[in-house]
């Protein structure tokens, strides 16, 4: 059951990321353009000071997902494939994100997303999100257009780091797991796509010992409904730009179904 009747449902992840979303340009059917801004606080950074790829994946999924959703109205969307490639993770901040629609079809919408360092407009990352268009029971979310969703700033001294917010625990050298708490769900009531993608980053770094993940392709194949969600890593090999890994996420509480399959590169 979706939470689209409640404007606050499924917003926990965006609030944690400090993401403010704003629809820009002309409001029109079958298209949309969304800008996002988010701080780059210490709790979203890794020990080497870089912004966590997991945070960028979460931000990109949120901005591009909203963009695709607005273009898909009166339907709404779920993420099916997120590709994000980092260019420079050593950001000053804040982060500026922009998403626009590349193609809208009957069943899917494709959006492109860029992330820039608000400090000097340096490109931080860019990618593509493909989403499936669904018809929510009870209808899509009702938004005043052009849409603005603000996230109040969080106290950087008391806000948990990304791994802690997600609740990551080590299972073994190649595996991490999380419980599927309500804070990690999206308005559909399933695990937020951004958290699924962030878990790929966490698992890749955990298994390789690398300091950062630099790119990820995530295929969301089934929803995460029950948990715990277990991410298992297979190391494919090493090359000049890092370790190439395959990550598989399963929902243990839903007959151990495969939720997502991902490929990532971790370096450093």
């Amino acid at each position: 059951m979706s939470g689209f009747h409640d404007p606050d449902a499924g917003r926990s992840v965006a609030r944690y990321l400090g993401l403010t979303l704003e629809e820009v340009g002309e409001v029109r059917a079958g298209g949309a353009e969304v800008h996002g801004t988010a701080p780059a606080p210490g709790y979203l950074r890794l020990p080497d000071g870089s912004i966590a790829m997991g945070a960028l994946l979460g931000l990109a999924d949120s901005v591009a997902g909203l963009c695709g959703g607005l273009a898909a109205l009166p339907g709404w969307v779920v993420s099916t494939n997120l590709m994000l490639r980092a260019v420079d993770l050593d950001v000053v901040g804040p982060l500026d994100l922009a998403a626009e629609v590349l193609r809208v079809g009957r069943n899917a919408v494709v959006t492109t997303v860029t992330v820039r360092d608000g400090h000097d407009a340096t490109l931080v990352a860019e990618g593509t999100l493909t989403s499936a268009i669904l018809q929510p029971a009870g209808g899509p979310p009702v938004y005043e257009r052009p849409l603005v969703l603000r996230a109040p700033p969080l106290d950087p001294d008391t806000t948990p780091a990304l791994d802690e917010f997600v609740g990551v625990r080590s299972v073994d050298d190649d595996t991490v797991a999380i419980d599927l708490t309500d804070d990690l769900r999206n308005p559909w009531g399933i695990l937020h796509g951004g958290i699924t993608a962030a878990l790929v980053d966490v698992a890749a770094r955990h298994a390789t010992g690398a300091s950062r993940t630099t790119d990820a392709v995530v295929h969301f194949v089934r929803p995460g409904r029950v948990g715990p969600v277990v991410a298992s890593v297979r190391r494919v090999g090493a090359r000049a730009d890092g370790h190439l890994v395959r990550v598989e996420l399963r929902d243990r509480g839903s007959d151990d179904r495969v939720m997502a399959v991902a490929v990532a590169t971790a370096r450093g």
Partner: protein, 275 residues
């Protein structure tokens, strides 16, 4: 594949035949395929051309997806390829399986090896389409079905890019053209997905090598297919996102110059130094 479709596509002179793609398909939506890697499938860096591997996985994955959606049809929505830069590859072996068959999409994953050791991974998403007249009929075999695309006389006589007809307009800026010929078309009359990947990899190799100052080989391709390229020539518009002596990242847009420069495909690529 059956009857008329087998006879009609691919034609006798076609990149899939020159690749010599051989496949074995089982009843459980799993398939194996392989291509031999001769001199014409190597890049100047000495590794197998990412476009050749993309063509292999596109054909293998497409066959699996077609069986999964039967009696409907499908089109490739995205293809990702991640390779290890190995010089010792004489044959690429691919093992594909259907990860998920949903109502509107099919996800296929392909493991790539050479001489029994990992070479890389590929993934694909296919959009499920209603069947139209002329779509090939591909059904799951009862047992293991083996086939080869090669026919007498097939095989590359020139490097892959030259065989495909790719024209380098300006290598360092990553501007290349691909005129559309029967050799590179798919069964829908558009440029075959693997050939779009080959064109993007060719642009990526050249522009990232120029930007980095070292010979790099494209190892990652993340491809989103937006529309079919039917008119041509298809031109690459390449943007370097980052470059160092060890690796580089680029964005390649493939535009159909015969269709008002419509962007048909977006590709992000990474090239690395080959040890």
């Amino acid at each position: 594949m059956t009857d008329a479709a087998e006879a009609a596509y691919p034609p006798a002179r076609h990149v899939l035949r020159d690749l010599g793609l051989a496949t074995e398909t089982g009843p459980a939506l799993r398939s194996r395929g392989s291509i031999a890697v001769g001199e014409h499938l190597r890049t100047p860096a000495g590794v197998v051309h990412a476009g050749a591997v993309a063509t292999l996985v596109d054909a293998l994955g497409g066959g699996l997806a077609a069986m999964a959606v039967h009696p409907d049809w499908m089109a490739t929505a995205d293809l990702t390829l991640h390779l290890l830069p190995r010089r010792d590859v004489a044959e690429v072996a691919a093992v594909g399986h259907v990860v998920r068959r949903g109502r509107t999409t099919v996800v296929v994953e392909v493991d790539l090896t050479a001489s029994g050791a990992p070479l890389g991974l590929a993934t694909m998403t296919f959009a499920v389409l209603a069947r139209r007249d002329g779509n090939p009929v591909i059904t799951q075999p009862g047992g293991v079905a083996a086939m080869t695309m090669a026919v007498p006389g097939s095989g590359f006589r020139a490097p892959l890019e030259e065989s495909a007809g790719i024209v380098v307009i300006d290598g360092p800026s990553g501007t290349l053209d691909l005129p559309i010929s029967e050799y590179v078309r798919n069964s829908l009359g558009a440029v075959q997905g693997g050939m779009m990947a080959t064109l993007a990899a060719a642009a990526s190799d050249r522009t990232l090598t120029a930007a980095s100052g070292a010979t790099l080989a494209t190892v990652d391709l993340e491809i989103t297919y937006l529309s079919l390229a039917k008119s041509g020539p298809v031109r690459t518009v390449t943007t370097v996102l980052a470059a160092s002596p060890d690796d580089g990242t680029a964005r390649v847009a493939l535009v159909d110059t015969g269709a008002e420069d419509r962007v048909t495909t977006i590709v992000r690529s990474r090239a690395v130094r080959v040890p």
